[in-house]
Symmetry: C2
Subunit: 295 residues, 2 copies
């Protein structure tokens, strides 16, 4: 039942997501003939080789993409413009260029100007990931049942879009298509804002721990522990994500701040009805997430 999708697929950046794609492809042999791994970090590249994640290994992305019919950018989005410019002259006609970046307007802005005639650019974003990073964090079941959002241009080549959809289906994900702007607002609220909040509250708690002499962390209860799990994620990837989805993230932060202030005000004035309503609503949201199997 396995369909050959790419004869020569290149993963640029063998971190958590790149390595998870490589690991998952090993579970569906025949989907990709030759898997090429490129990473400018000598340590990551050597480790990927040790782990046997690919067929060929390149330190230089430009060398790696030669003759490839598929290329996936898996580095932090802040590096996309530089990489796109460097690899563009070496992409062969008919190649499909894709990525896994979590901000799609910025990816379109940074990559599309360099895409040569005859190369199809199909941006994608798998909604999956843990707090771990690097080639050792590759998981063969990371994408199973998760969504991968595609944001192709309106005039995108249908066959190229279908191929990227088929690749993600082979990796176990469900796919959906939307505009880059819509994508960026959705992920701002479901992913980027929660991370910004988690990073923040860890710092707030740590400041307090200094004042209260270490007891905050010692007694970390379940609420806080869940926040620190989120907050353990890769700094460069998240810095790039925040900066490249600034407008949507700040809009969501502003909405959240208004709502949080309203909740704090209800606590101050003892507005039990308001507080109970909000908590009950959260429970309903949790329930609907379980119903649609996202929890």
């Amino acid at each position: 039942m396995v369909e050959l999708l790419f004869k020569r697929l290149v993963i640029i950046g063998i971190g958590h997501i790149g390595a998870s794609i490589a690991r998952t492809l090993q579970t569906v042999p025949g989907t990709v003939e030759t898997l090429v791994i490129a990473d400018t970090s000598p340590a990551h590249l050597a480790r990927a080789k040790e782990l046997g994640l690919g067929t060929e290994y390149f330190a230089d992305p430009s060398g790696a993409v030669k003759g490839a019919d598929g290329v996936i950018l898996c580095t932090p989005v802040g590096s996309f413009a530089t990489i796109a410019e460097a690899i563009a002259p070496h992409l062969m006609k008919g190649c499909i260029l894709s990525d896994v970046g979590s901000t799609k307007q910025s990816v379109w802005r940074d990559v599309s100007p360099f895409v040569p005639e005859g190369v199809q650019f199909v941006p994608a974003h798998p909604l999956a990931g843990t707090e771990f990073s690097g080639p050792d964090a590759g998981l063969p079941d990371l994408f199973k049942g998760r969504w991968c959002l595609l944001t192709p241009a309106e005039n995108a080549d249908a066959a190229a879009v279908q191929k990227i959809e088929a690749l993600w289906a082979a990796l176990g994900a469900r796919t959906a298509k939307m505009t880059t702007a819509h994508h960026d607002r959705v992920v701002a609220i479901v992913s980027h804002l929660p991370h910004l909040i988690a990073f923040t509250i860890c710092g707030t708690a740590d400041d307090l721990a200094d004042e209260m002499r270490e007891e905050v962390l010692q007694f970390a209860a379940s609420g806080f522990r869940d926040f620190t799990r989120i907050a353990a994620s890769d700094p460069v990837m998240w810095r790039d994500t925040f900066l490249n989805n600034k407008d949507a993230l700040l809009e969501m932060f502003s909405r959240f701040s208004e709502d949080a202030q309203a909740m704090a005000r209800a606590v101050r004035w003892g507005d039990t009805g308001y507080i109970e309503d909000k908590i009950n609503r959260s429970r309903k949201i949790r329930k609907s997430l379980i119903d649609i199997k996202q929890a």
Copy 2:
């Protein structure tokens, strides 16, 4: 090695925590001779009986506490004053009264005025709990390795405090003593504020989902899913917790808001150094939590 701690121990309120105490006591037989369960909810009491959580069952807490040498309040903290007033005349001399409430200044304020001469009041708060509630949510390993914070008065009876410490040790928890004020600030940051934030962001997302026609929940990524897990907790318990730890919670909310605004400002102005510092610091906190085995 099991020591008889209580001949007749009464659990008032057979919800998630009360039922977990009952379930755990069954794993250390001999610690309590007779376990009495009291709950004013006929459904909860009937279910506790079906599950075989105790030895005797009472709808009326006043009847339940007669002849008991130990009583633990396991209802939401908002009900403590009423229950304390009702049971006080029926407590026998030498009885130790304790609780599991998550706000300790309010518990002291609400309960201690009713504690009769000869009865020892030793407030306690196990830092444990899931998002589930009711008698069916009783877990025999909920307290294993977790902290239980005791906030006895300065002049508390040492033997009574030791007995409550021994009870929590038998239940698998580690214990620590602190003042009620210190306790309330610690839990405000590690537990109450994270819950307030989680309840809020679920509502913010749901409002947006209405605008964006349901796609927010459908694509809930890992960040948001963790928040909804926290947000699925019991509404009455959390309403009471917020209102009874108002001052500490609002202080922590204010600190968090300042820090979150600073983070948003760094995103707006592209202050990469600030953002990376905060994320790196969060990672360190996570690491230290893992080191002290709280993660």
